[in-house]
Structure formats: C-alpha cells, structure tokens
Subunit: 207 residues, 2 copies
DNA sequence: AGGTACATACCGTCTGGTCGGTATTGAGGA
DNA sequence: TCCTCAATACCGACCAGACGGTATGTACCT
C-alpha cells in the first residue's frame, strides 16, 4: 500500500538518459573511489564527473560518507539477495554450496570496483555506519556458514574444522580478487568461479 | 667490506630507549596508519606521537609517502626472508608447503597492523613505488608457487588447477586475516595457521 | 503559495611540504 | 691543545592550496 499518488510538489528531478542525479552521483563515485580511493577523491571531483555542483550532491546526500555508505548498501543487497536464492535451491548440499561459491566469485568479479572500495575504504566510514555494514555482512556470512554446517552434520563434509573459520578462509580468497584479477587474464570469471568452488569443496570433502 | 670506519661527522642521532628518531617515526606511523588509515593520519599526528617536529621527519623521509613505503619494505623483507628459509628446508614437499603456509599465517597475525596497512593503503603510493612493492611481492609469490609446482610435477598434488591461481586463492585468505581475526578469539595464531595449512593441503591432495 | 531541485559563492580549517636557523659533534690543521 | 670548518640533526614558523561543508538564491513545477 505504498502511497503511489504521493503529494508530489516542486520541480521534478532532472534525468540524463534515464538516470537521475543521485544515481549518476553514485555511479561516478563508484568509479572514482575505486580508481583513486575514497580520501583521494574530493567531493568536487565527484560532482564534476557527474556534471552537477556540490549543491546538488548535498541536497541528496548528507555527507561524503553517505555516498560511500550507499555504495556499500547496493553491493550488499545484491550479493545477499543472490546468495539467499542460491542457498534456497534444491539438491544435495555439496552441489548447492558449489553453486553458491562459484556464483559469488562471478558476481564479485563482475562488480570488481565495488569490492575494491568495500575492503579498502570500510574504515573511513563513521563507527555507526560501519556497524550497520558489518551487521548486514554477518547475515551474509551466516547464510553461507549454514550450508557448511549442514554438510558437516550430514557427514558429507569434514567436521574437524570450525565452520566460521572455513567461511572466513573462503571469503578471504574471494574478497582479494580485486588485488590480482585482470579483465583479460587467462581465466574467465566462470573458470575462476569453478576453480575456487572446486578448491573449497575439495578441502571439505577430503578425508 | 662495508666501511665501518665511515667518516662520521656531525651530531649523532638522538635516541630514546635505544630507538633513533627515524625508528620511532616508523613505529608510530605503523600504529597510526593501521588505526586511522594513511590519509586519515596527518604528518602532524605522526611527528607529535613520535615526540619530534616535522623538521625531523622531513630530514629523514622525503615525503609522507616514503614513510608508508618504508613500512612496506620492512614487512616484505621479513616475510620473504622467512618464506625462503622455510622453502629451503628438507623433507617432502607437502610437509614443506604445510610448514610454510602455517608460518605465514602466524607471522601475518603477529604483524597484523602491517598487513592491515598493506592491503588498505597500497594504492596511495606513487606509481613507481607501487611497482617496486609489487616486484618484491611477486618474488614472494613465485617462491611459494614453486613448491606447489614441485608437488604437481611429482604427482603428490592435483595438477588440473593453475598453480598461480592456488597461490592467489590461499594468500587471499591470509591477507584477509586483519578483517576478522581478533586477539582473544577462540583460536590462537598457531591453530589458525594449522587449520589454514590443512585446508590448503586438503584441497591439493584430494583426488 | 509553497515545496523541490538544484547553482553559486563562500568560509574556516587543515594539510603536506619548505626554509632558515641553531645546537652539537668529529676531523684536521697549527 | 685549541680552534676552525663542515656536516649532521633537528626545531619552529610559515605558506599556498585544497578540502568538506553551508548559506543563500532562484528556476521550476503542482
């Protein structure tokens, strides 16, 4: 029951090929933060690249921090969404885990800029915003861990190692993809995804 | 044949409990950069914490950049040194690899601040200095890879996966330790080291 | 009329870096 | 032995510019 006919007064937002000003701001901020880092990018840089002025930016975002926070939000929502769908599929747990692991690798590579920013600039956020991000992140972590624990309980996976540790182990690899993956390397996104998932499964299923 | 009797003129460096000014500067810079980030720490912060003035810092270091670069240098030298010693040991390759893997986890945790800075602030360095760091880093990578290839060639490890990929996979996990490891967690440095090494070996030796 | 969507001009603060000066030392000559 | 010279090891004052953020104005729409 959202108020579709919400009292809309005032000038409508301007758009350039379908994208509103705040969308454009987030888009260019993503690119610039990934290229030059959060502190290395000034608000002036961002608004210039988006073709607006600071007035516009501070109209939509409370601070430079906020820009970064929104970027995080978008990535987190997307990845959490995909993981939960993958986890909800049918089939044996080792297949679900393999698929989820391979998928997160692929989407991470497809959103490499976001991931770059994520792990490079998290600490620039205010304490409260960091907490919010970590909370959302933990939810993601737990969904993944649940699959491992399921496999351990059913005897498919080794259970002499802590499931949390395994999750951190695997996602360390995933989150470090921006450090070495290059667009035209020998291996495609899919191949990396399959290899990473193979490695994870192998370390879990070997006796 | 180092010139031990080097012409020593001028005032000798001042020391506070055995540590010279540049050593103290690097020490506090390490702490501050890890806490507040490179860009979030001003030169003034650093010199104040070291109990000197900017004059002293710019006497020993060419720039703020330089400070960061030297921090990198110290970590890299230490880790490269340890790895090469571990690789040169005797015994079967799977044992050497296990020991080296466990060792790098332990030393990474023991130098968590350095590692934090390393992967968070590398991009702040000038292009040339980044290249220098990456070159040194590659040498480290290759030493590790050589062990994996040795195991693959002798049939101890699976050889359907690229050795480079496996190195990146494993070191992703290691380099992400600062993101989640806390001093008083359930698992000690040693236990994490052993677990990580186990996971690596398991994924390599399973059929 | 009143709210939205920006643009423009501006501000106080802080930053990395510079520069001239001075205290302190060992080396070498007389 | 004493004195000068040159080099080191800093200190402290300073600067130009950039930074995030704001206050005010105005065009536009319902």
């Amino acid at each position: 029951m959202a108020d579709q006919s919400a009292r809309r007064v005032g000038r409508p937002p301007s758009t350039v090929d379908g994208r509103t000003v705040p969308e454009r701001l987030l888009g260019v901020a993503l690119k610039l933060f990934a290229e030059k880092g959060f502190e290395g990018t000034s608000v002036q840089d961002v608004v210039a690249a988006a073709g607006v002025t600071k007035g516009a930016m501070y109209h939509y975002f409370g601070s430079k921090d906020d820009l970064l926070y929104e970027i995080y939000g978008r990535v987190l929502r997307m990845q959490t969404d995909r993981l939960e769908k993958a986890a909800a599929h049918e089939g044996p747990v080792e297949e679900r885990l393999h698929a989820a692991a391979a998928d997160v690798v692929v989407t991470t590579i497809e959103n490499l800029e976001s991931t770059t920013i994520f792990f490079r600039s998290l600490h620039q956020l205010s304490e409260e915003k960091q907490k919010a991000v970590r909370r959302e992140r933990r939810r993601y972590h737990q969904t993944f861990r649940a699959m491992i624990e399921e496999g351990q309980a059913s005897g498919v996976f080794r259970d002499d190692l802590d499931a949390d540790l395994i999750v951190d182990y695997f996602f360390g690899s995933v989150h470090h993809l921006p450090m070495w993956w290059k667009p035209h390397g020998r291996l495609s996104e899919r191949e990396i995804g399959r290899s990473f998932a193979d490695l994870l499964l192998a370390s879990l299923t070997s006796h």
